[in-house]
């Protein structure tokens, strides 16, 4: 029996297949969640089946906010439990996991590889991936282009707390001729400070560990480490943390 985890997030859908002993990631796949989570889930199933196993050989656990749209899953779990478990697999038994997702950001406290506490941002999208997506869009950039630009920017302060207001603030900054790299850099700084506030709400455990789509953004990791005053660890596989955790929790 192999174990698969399907994590349908608001922006990206992730799937991993893990070995029988759950020690190794056999295969991974990432695709945009798109408009229709059900279709995305079906595409992930075809991918899984294309690996050469039959459905009966695999136990499938779904997570993420689109977990209900995975009709073929054997069971479902919330993304908090799965992210915690997956992060512990990647980063160690005691962690303060910081997951910056497309729509919400969460801080999960792990002790002895168990979730003991967590906090999520409120309805507002400031401090999430959405915020940066909106800002990049406004500047006519893709997210990777946006990050590349931000690397060369100076830190300026975006004072608006709310995504909608921050967007108009950026428009007026552009109107004033503020360099685009500075604006991008400032936007990343804004997300980092929101995330740090969320982190400060809970007593931390072990080292900081970043999961989610930004685990390959050196600028964000660097800024987050500076703001928290302690190194933030991560690995490229950390974007699969939810799916890994789901697979690990399959029984």
């Amino acid at each position: 029996m192999l174990f698969a985890g399907i994590d349908i997030g608001s922006t990206a859908a992730k799937a991993v297949l893990m070995s029988e002993d759950k020690r190794e990631i056999v295969a991974r796949n990432l695709m945009p969640s798109g408009w229709n989570s059900r279709e995305t889930a079906e595409r992930l199933l075809s991918w899984l089946m294309s690996l050469g196993y039959s459905r009966d050989d695999i136990r499938i656990i779904a997570t993420g906010y689109g977990r209900v749209s995975v009709p073929y899953a054997d069971s479902t779990l919330t993304e908090i439990t799965c992210h915690g478990k997956g992060a512990a697999f990647l980063g160690g038994d005691d962690l303060t996991v910081i997951d910056i997702g497309g729509q919400d950001t969460k801080v999960i406290i792990i002790k002895n590889s168990r979730v003991i506490d967590f906090v999520m941002n409120d309805k507002c999208s400031a401090g999430t991936g959405k915020f940066l997506e909106v800002m990049a869009n406004r500047m006519g950039l893709t997210l990777p282009e946006f990050f590349a630009l931000a690397e060369h920017g100076k830190d300026i302060k975006i004072s608006s707390m709310c995504t909608v207001f921050a967007e108009s603030e950026i428009v007026s900054l552009m109107g004033l001729g503020t360099p685009r790299e500075d604006i991008a850099c400032g936007a990343v700084g804004s997300v980092v400070s929101k995330v740090a506030t969320l982190v400060s709400k809970k007593a931390s455990s072990g080292k900081y560990y970043l999961t989610g789509g930004f685990c390959e953004s050196p600028l964000l990791i660097r800024k987050l480490s500076e703001t928290l005053g302690s190194e933030v660890f991560t690995t490229p596989d950390a974007r699969f943390a939810g799916a890994i955790g789901a697979a690990l929790l399959g029984k």
């Binding site: 993304e79 908090i80 439990t81 168990r114 979730v115 003991i116 506490d117 967590f118 309805k123």
Partner: protein, 425 residues
């Protein structure tokens, strides 16, 4: 359902708009309540009361008024119902728990006002709740700032009487509240034209103590390992207790408890084995606000206790029955109504934290969910201590902020679902 349109018309209600509420309620009630398996038969009475929530009881109040009786409506459990009852009036709760009334309140109140206050004003100004038409006196209190200022607006349309509740619990504050209750007694006498006698007041104290004892008897079943009744059913009964006839509901609760005694003997549980036991604490859940109980109990949890005004704070402690003069009895009412209710409008309010820890133990809670109605500043702020002290005591706690809409249902599902998963590993 019987047709109450003529009565509603005669009460000056906006019947057309009110019909929308009447259409929505049965569906919501069916989804949340009637879909439960293995419900006690004794719930039938309460089902019926809710099905005709704006019919049966209002009709009784209309009858009472026809015979010259008066109706007194209240918004806070610090205000003793014994007083209007002793003066021959009917007391009814007026707290509103539906989004239906919120937009009406928003016409007059700032957006950053808690939904309970908005809904209460909306129910009056939009003329869509019979209880808000029937009350001859609306008793407000100076608890939180939101209510305090809202009463001034409500007073433009409704006959208000305001009681000044202290913010601290020093001896002089008790004296002040005692004085306020004396004033309330006078006001109720004026309203009804009846003199309150020691015998009447003693009878009212007994009557309401009996209701409390019945509710506490019901709560005791939730301490069992096999819980014979769902948390949302108990919530419903508590909510109904705010406006139903006290003697009748006491009898109905006791009848239900007899049935539960049988269930307990046979170890009947309405929950799956391993359901996580949740204690709720925080702001009130007024009827028909069943959202959190419903979410928790469909996600594998069992609500075992509410450290709330619509919960244990309403019934756990009784009024001392030993008084023989009016003055003595009012002293005892003061002790109960100020001393035994730990609302965040007091400073400090550490007794509440002690209560939460004690109740978590008594009801064997696996975790605590601290609920805050959006824009309730005092409970939100107190959440700092709730969380810290429960952490120190090793009791898992989840803080949640919500309102009367269903917009956050998905986010709440994730948070509560993750919390229950966390308690299970």
């Amino acid at each position: 359902m019987a047709d109450y349109h003529a009565m509603w018309e005669s009460l000056g209600m906006d019947v057309k708009t009110h019909d929308l509420l009447c259409e929505a309620l049965p569906g919501a009630f069916g989804d949340v309540y009637l879909s439960q398996e293995n419900r006690p038969e004794g719930m039938d009475y309460f089902n019926m009361v809710v099905a005709e929530i704006h019919g049966i009881r209002p009709a009784e109040l209309v009858e009472h008024k026809k015979n010259g009786g008066k109706v007194v409506g209240t918004f806070c459990i610090h205000v003793p119902d014994e007083i209007p009852i002793a003066a021959g009036a009917i007391a009814t709760g007026l707290c509103s728990g539906s989004q239906f009334w919120v937009p009406g309140g928003e016409k007059k109140l700032p957006a950053a006002t808690c939904p309970l206050i908005k809904a209460s004003l909306g129910a009056r100004f939009d003329r869509t709740c019979p209880f808000f038409r029937l009350a001859d006196l609306f008793v407000g209190e100076t608890t939180c700032d939101g209510k305090k200022k809202a009463w001034e607006i409500l007073a433009e349309d409704a006959p208000m009487y305001i009681m000044d509740i202290p913010q601290m619990k020093r001896p002089k504050d008790y004296e002040h509240w005692e004085d306020e209750i004396h004033g309330y007694l006078k006001r109720c006498e004026e309203l009804t034209g009846n003199k309150v006698t020691p015998a009447n007041l003693r009878a009212a104290i007994k009557l309401l103590n009996n209701k409390r004892k019945a509710l506490q008897r019901l709560a005791e079943f939730r301490k069992l390992d096999n819980i014979p009744i769902s948390g949302k059913d108990v919530l419903l009964i508590t909510q109904i207790a705010f406006y139903d006839d006290p003697a009748r509901i006491t009898a109905q609760i006791n009848k239900l408890c007899d049935e539960l005694d049988e269930r307990a003997k046979n170890n009947v549980s309405v929950f799956k084995k391993g359901a996580k036991r949740i204690l709720l604490t925080g702001t009130p859940l007024s009827i028909p606000n069943w959202k959190l109980h419903h979410l928790i109990e469909t996600l594998g949890g069992a609500v075992v206790c509410e450290e709330m005004c619509t919960g244990i704070r309403y019934y756990e402690k009784c009024v001392d029955e030993s008084g023989s003069t009016i003055d003595e009895m009012i002293k005892h009412l003061t002790e109960r109504y100020m001393g035994a209710i730990h609302c965040a409008c007091f400073t400090p309010n550490f007794e509440r934290i002690d209560d939460i820890k004690r109740l978590a133990k008594e009801y064997k809670a696996d975790g605590v969910i601290d609920v805050n109605l959006k824009f309730c500043n005092i409970y939100d702020t107190e959440g700092y201590f709730v969380e810290r002290e429960l952490n120190n005591a090793g009791i898992p706690v989840l803080g949640i902020e919500t309102d009367y809409t269903d917009q956050d249902a998905e986010q709440l599902k994730t948070r509560i679902g993750a919390f229950i998963e966390m308690l299970g590993n």
